[in-house]
Symmetry: C2
């Protein structure tokens, strides 16, 4: 009912020109105190709000940040969004979120549907599909078109842009070292398939820790969880593999998982085999989410600081928007070990 009021209407009511109203509402000193007071009061009374569409059209910027993540229903990404949202709104930006559902095609579609003049810039974590496909044209095209992109978490080496990443290798190294220092010698690593760089990095860290401690790691203790089927299938096949490994090698005394669900599966198998955590086996995982916090026992986790990551990504983007010529920057976030006595 109480339709939005415009400058034009105010001008007409008060019998002044539109630009006078515009200036008055901006508290411009060009306008006389009297008039200003009158106009401001009137505008306030009628709850005048400039039409952001018109403003954006005029300035050719909508102050909107597009975030594209592989999955929304994921604690880590939700944390990142949280961080982006906070920093963005502190700086007057609005955030639009879309999910690629880990699919290359959807990622491309999302980018293209947002890259119209609506969006000022992107914050993206690429989908597994894209990593598999190794086709990054949609991203480099966007950058070339003049729309800045910040890549986070799952980044792409070949693309030059701002990035925020976790020091996955160091995290895995420290986690593994921690286990080794506790006297653990036969440590299983549960990781992803090779095309996901993060999993790779973490595997490297695992290996480095072993090398440094002069322990020969066994290749068959590195278990790669498949990604080809449904989540349920992948996890249940992981469960079988893990059970086999644990039965075959009764002297296994440590497990490090690259994400929470893998760790939950490990916990399940350990329970089934009646192996105690941490008495018999130390368990540790990446990602400090709701699973590791609420499992019994809680699992010690390497936090990736999702919210901080989101904040940093938003900051990088906003800085670039202010100054498109600045050098590309890569922020690296260190993992923090949250010890919950599962080690």
């Amino acid at each position: 009912m109480n339709q939005k009021i415009t400058l034009k209407q105010i001008a007409k009511e008060l019998d002044v020109s539109i630009s006078t109203v515009s200036k008055a509402l901006k508290d411009s000193k060009e306008i006389g105190e009297e008039t200003k007071k009158k106009i401001q009061a009137f505008a306030k009374y009628y709850k005048y709000r400039p039409n952001p569409l018109a403003v954006s059209l005029k300035n050719n910027t909508a102050k909107i940040i597009g975030v594209i993540i592989p999955e929304i229903v994921h604690h880590f990404f939700a944390e990142v969004i949280n961080g982006v949202e906070k920093t963005a709104s502190e700086n007057g930006y609005t955030v639009i979120i879309t999910s690629s559902n880990e699919q290359f095609e959807k990622e491309v579609a999302n980018i293209s549907s947002l890259s119209d003049s609506l969006i000022d810039g992107f914050i993206i974590s690429v989908s597994k599909g894209t990593l598999k496909e190794k086709n990054y044209e949609h991203i480099s095209d966007t950058i070339e078109l003049g729309i800045p992109v910040v890549l986070f978490d799952r980044t792409i080496d070949d693309i030059e842009c701002d990035k925020v990443m976790v020091n996955d290798r160091l995290g895995a190294y420290e986690g593994t070292s921690k286990l080794i220092n506790k006297g653990r010698r036969k440590i299983i690593l549960i990781t992803t398939e090779d095309y996901i760089s993060i999993g790779n990095e973490r595997t490297q860290g695992y290996i480095e820790a072993h090398d440094e401690a002069n322990i020969n790691y066994q290749q068959d203790l590195i278990i790669k969880c498949q990604e080809k089927g449904s989540r349920e299938k992948n996890l249940s096949s992981l469960e079988k593999n893990l059970e086999k490994s644990l039965t075959l090698n009764s002297d296994i005394d440590g497990i490090i998982a690259v994400n929470e669900s893998y760790a939950a599966v490990a916990l399940k198998v350990l329970g089934k085999l009646n192996i105690k955590v941490p008495e018999n086996v130390s368990l540790i995982c990446f990602s400090d989410g709701v699973i590791s916090q609420f499992s019994t026992p809680p699992i010690s986790a390497l936090s990736q600081h999702g919210e901080l990551m989101g904040r940093k990504a938003a900051n990088l983007l906003i800085e670039r928007l202010k100054n498109p010529e600045r050098d590309f920057q890569t922020d690296v976030i260190e993992c923090t070990l949250i010890d919950r006595n599962s080690i």
Copy 2:
């Protein structure tokens, strides 16, 4: 570099008028085949995309849906977003998400910052702060301003608008009945404080199930988890209460929790007291999220079908946008019990 091309530029290049270009790109039959072909080819080559800002300004609608949720880092809400996003994008709408962080003030601020002409309508789950405050003006104001609102999950009786809610009472009734049918007689209910209507509904269902089975429920078996402190504090005080209850009443044989974290706390306490699930105690909780799926043992859960909820909410909103005069509608979603053998 490759700056976006406009109608004007195309018109100039091809030496026709802007409106001809506009029409040609719309495949209007007003325009001759020849010209149309030429223009369309040119536009395609230069990847012409209409500036959505200008289109929106013209049509006075941006096709944007604003979603305001209490918390992003929450499996259920993430699922809802997922659903909204899907239905929205199927219908050409974009989704903007903001989080109120359970705070009244932030909810008000979010609504007001979005209710400019940018947003066509809202999908909201009100914050705990708002429920506590019992101040719903920001929402009724929005509706009166002509911006439609769909309330979901945590709805408000006093406000007339479209709603999507879960049949919480029936869900709790069925969950409790299930336990009773399994021979459980002393069932603890872990719920929220009273001002959250959902918790209340669930408590009612719990009571009804008892009444129907002619079992006297004990008031002191209804444990209300406080909401005043930090989450950690609230949960650890819940832990203590629960432990006391279980020690005092050694014949307790069932627990029903209104959310996953409460159930996780219960699992922890049960483990500590060496009480087996489901042998000694049946456990069941609302919300089919990642905790209940991945805990050991997995917890039987009453799914609230978050994604479906999101889809329905988006549908209601889009329908109303098409036809603002239609009657208000409340969609009720039934909970589904996902049995994971914790009963």
